[in-house]
């Protein structure tokens, strides 16, 4: 009895219909599984990337097909003081904001690595600035930076009496530049802190115990254990941070829109202003393409960070 049911079961299994057989054929299945992801990425990522580079060499505007003009767009950009301004501010913004995010984020990660009550609750609270839509927190910063009703000015002038007049955060170039950098650091700290905390937690306590037995001071333990062990993860997180800070758009667009007097334009906001708002698609694309060399540099940085990590793991694990 049991033998017959088994054999009929096997028989049913042996002769599935052609569709099931087709889907069990490995090469076909691989193609089917990869098709949606590769298809989406090709149509909406690879193709536009190529198209963008092509557009940068044409004089396309909205509603008119452009013709090939060679390097004209780039030659124009090299003589355009606004573009040089945007390059300067993009580099400054990335350098200062990345330094600030990593210094403060690393500090916060080290603090969170201690034992204290409500640790997971605190960790959850700290990630909030990163979860909330950037534009919406940028609006809150815009209100905090208000020339008349800024709460920071109120604190400094009316409560602490450190200053006589309100701070003009966004009205003149240099204060505006640093106000934006401060907002970017505020938003970036949680991501850096939580990723580095994950890295800190993978460092084996026995290393610290061994170092303490050898009489290492707290600074030496940080310098010779924590820092080298964190190098690989620092390199990766920093690459991501540099790429997304350099190409930042939302924060600047929401708070200053490149003003006052075009002093806070990043390359991305300048590209938007020329390409979409101004309709000069070719020129906007050229500005966007001019970001690529910087990004390639950052990606190579990531690659060497990863290579170094493999080498370190090979030493530590075996």
């Amino acid at each position: 009895m049991s033998v017959t049911t088994l054999s009929s079961h096997v028989l049913a299994q042996r002769q599935p219909n052609w569709l099931v057989r087709l889907f069990d054929y490995k090469p076909f299945l691989i193609v089917m599984c990869l098709a949606p992801a590769i298809g989406l990425l090709t149509v909406f990522l690879t193709y536009p990337l190529g198209l963008g580079i092509w557009l940068a060499f044409t004089d396309t505007t909205i509603g008119r097909r452009g013709i090939y003009v060679g390097l004209e767009n780039f030659q124009y950009l090299l003589t355009d003081s606004l573009w040089w301004n945007a390059v300067f501010y993009s580099v400054l913004y990335t350098a200062v904001a990345t330094f600030g995010k990593f210094a403060l984020g690393f500090w916060l990660a080290l603090l969170l690595n201690n034992h204290f009550p409500f640790k997971s609750l605190l960790r959850a609270i700290i990630l909030l600035p990163w979860i909330v839509p950037t534009v919406l927190s940028a609006l809150a910063f815009w209100w905090i930076y208000d020339p008349q009703f800024s709460i920071i000015s109120y604190l400094l002038v009316d409560v602490l009496h450190w200053r006589d007049s309100n701070i003009d955060f966004l009205g003149s170039p240099w204060p505006a530049r640093f106000s934006l950098i401060a907002a970017n650091i505020w938003r970036g700290i949680p991501f850096v802190a939580i990723s580095l905390l994950a890295g800190l937690q993978t460092i084996s306590p026995s290393l610290y115990e061994a170092a303490m037995l050898d009489g290492a001071s707290a600074w030496q333990r940080f310098r010779y254990i924590t820092f080298p062990m964190m190098m690989p993860i620092l390199a990766i997180v920093m690459t991501f941070s540099i790429i997304f800070t350099f190409t930042d758009f939302q924060l600047v667009y929401a708070i200053t829109r490149g003003g006052p007097g075009n002093s806070t334009h990043l390359l991305a906001t300048l590209a938007f202003q020329r390409g979409i708002a101004g309709g000069e698609l070719g020129e906007g694309a050229a500005i966007a393409v001019s970001m690529i060399p910087f990004l390639v540099f950052a990606t190579l940085f990531s690659y060497f960070g990863l290579a170094r990590r493999k080498w370190q793991q090979g030493e530590a694990n075996d």
Binding site: L29, P133, I236
Partner: protein
């Protein structure tokens, strides 16, 4: 020799807290709790300010001399009422929700299949496909939005939320695929081999064995994609023109900011309401967020 040294160290460590208890307590306070307190204060203050502004009447908003700006004397719902009944805010919320859910579903399906193929159906070149998808994550939207705008116009999708649903996967799929590859790696391969020996087809294995075991990974990828698409700004700004089809972040900035006198109460109320869905989502799934954030970095 080493034993005695170790014992001495242990004795030292035991003696230390007794003699220096007060000192180390104060030290801990100064070195850990005080900086932590400052960090939390600064990181949370903008949200407090946002929340308190959205319930303040206009008179208090513009008068710091008579009203303490850090507190509300007579809270009002006027700003929220204005937002819900005099603007298209409910419609913007609905559009944003639709776009976020649509693009999340699409990218979850695409990236689950891709991650399964790369990690489990191993074929020649699968590591390179994985690397290619990883590189796609490094291409920022700021470079793509101008050519993508022309692509969207070519497809006749300009000014339609469908354009956003189709475009958001460009940054969601790479992220989800990498997250899920990591999860699939942690599932023992033997389970699948057993099923193969028992005569299950590959699709049955994916549906009955791999997917149920990868549920935490799927949840992480899902909530992360939802948050990222809720927060997306530049594509929504470039591809959507008409007021009714805008997503919340774009609409607040372009529709509510009018003229020279800013309606700070309404602006902050809009920001607060727009942040709430992700904040609630976040509070329900905190651990998944943390694990996916750290998992994606470690991969």
């Amino acid at each position: 020799m080493t034993d005695t040294a170790a014992q001495a160290a242990v004795a030292d460590a035991k003696a230390a807290p007794d003699t220096m208890a007060w000192d180390s307590g104060l030290r801990r306070l100064m070195m850990i709790y005080l900086p932590l307190g400052c960090f939390v204060l600064i990181l949370l203050f903008p949200f407090y300010w946002m929340a308190i502004t959205s319930f303040k009447p206009n008179a208090e908003l513009m008068n710091y001399k008579e009203h303490n700006p850090f507190w509300i004397s007579s809270p009002t719902l006027a700003h929220i009422k204005h937002l819900l009944f005099n603007t298209a805010y409910p419609h913007w919320l609905w559009t944003t929700m639709l776009v976020a859910i649509g693009s999340t579903t699409l990218s979850l399906i695409a990236s689950t299949l891709a991650a399964y193929a790369i990690e489990r159906l191993r074929f020649r070149g699968s590591p390179y496909v994985g690397l290619g998808i990883y590189l796609a994550y490094l291409v920022p939207p700021s470079i793509l939005f101008i050519p993508l705008a022309t692509v969207v116009v070519q497809f006749g999708l300009f000014d339609s939320p469908l354009a956003l649903i189709l475009v958001y996967p460009t940054f969601l799929v790479p992220f989800c695929t990498w997250l899920l590859i990591g999860y699939f790696k942690s599932i023992p391969y033997e389970l699948e081999e057993c099923a193969l020996v028992d005569g299950a087809t590959r699709l049955q294995i994916l549906r009955r064995i791999t997917l149920p075991l990868a549920v935490p990974g799927l949840i992480s990828a899902g909530i992360f994609s939802f948050t990222l698409s809720w927060n997306e700004f530049i594509y929504a700004l470039a591809f959507i023109q008409s007021g009714a089809n805008k997503t919340v972040p774009v609409a607040i900035l372009t529709e509510l900011v009018t003229g020279d006198v800013y309606q700070w109460g309404a602006l902050m109320a809009g920001s607060l309401l727009g942040s709430l869905p992700v904040a609630i989502f976040y509070s329900l799934f905190v651990d998944y967020y943390v694990s996916s954030l750290t998992g994606a970095v470690k991969e």
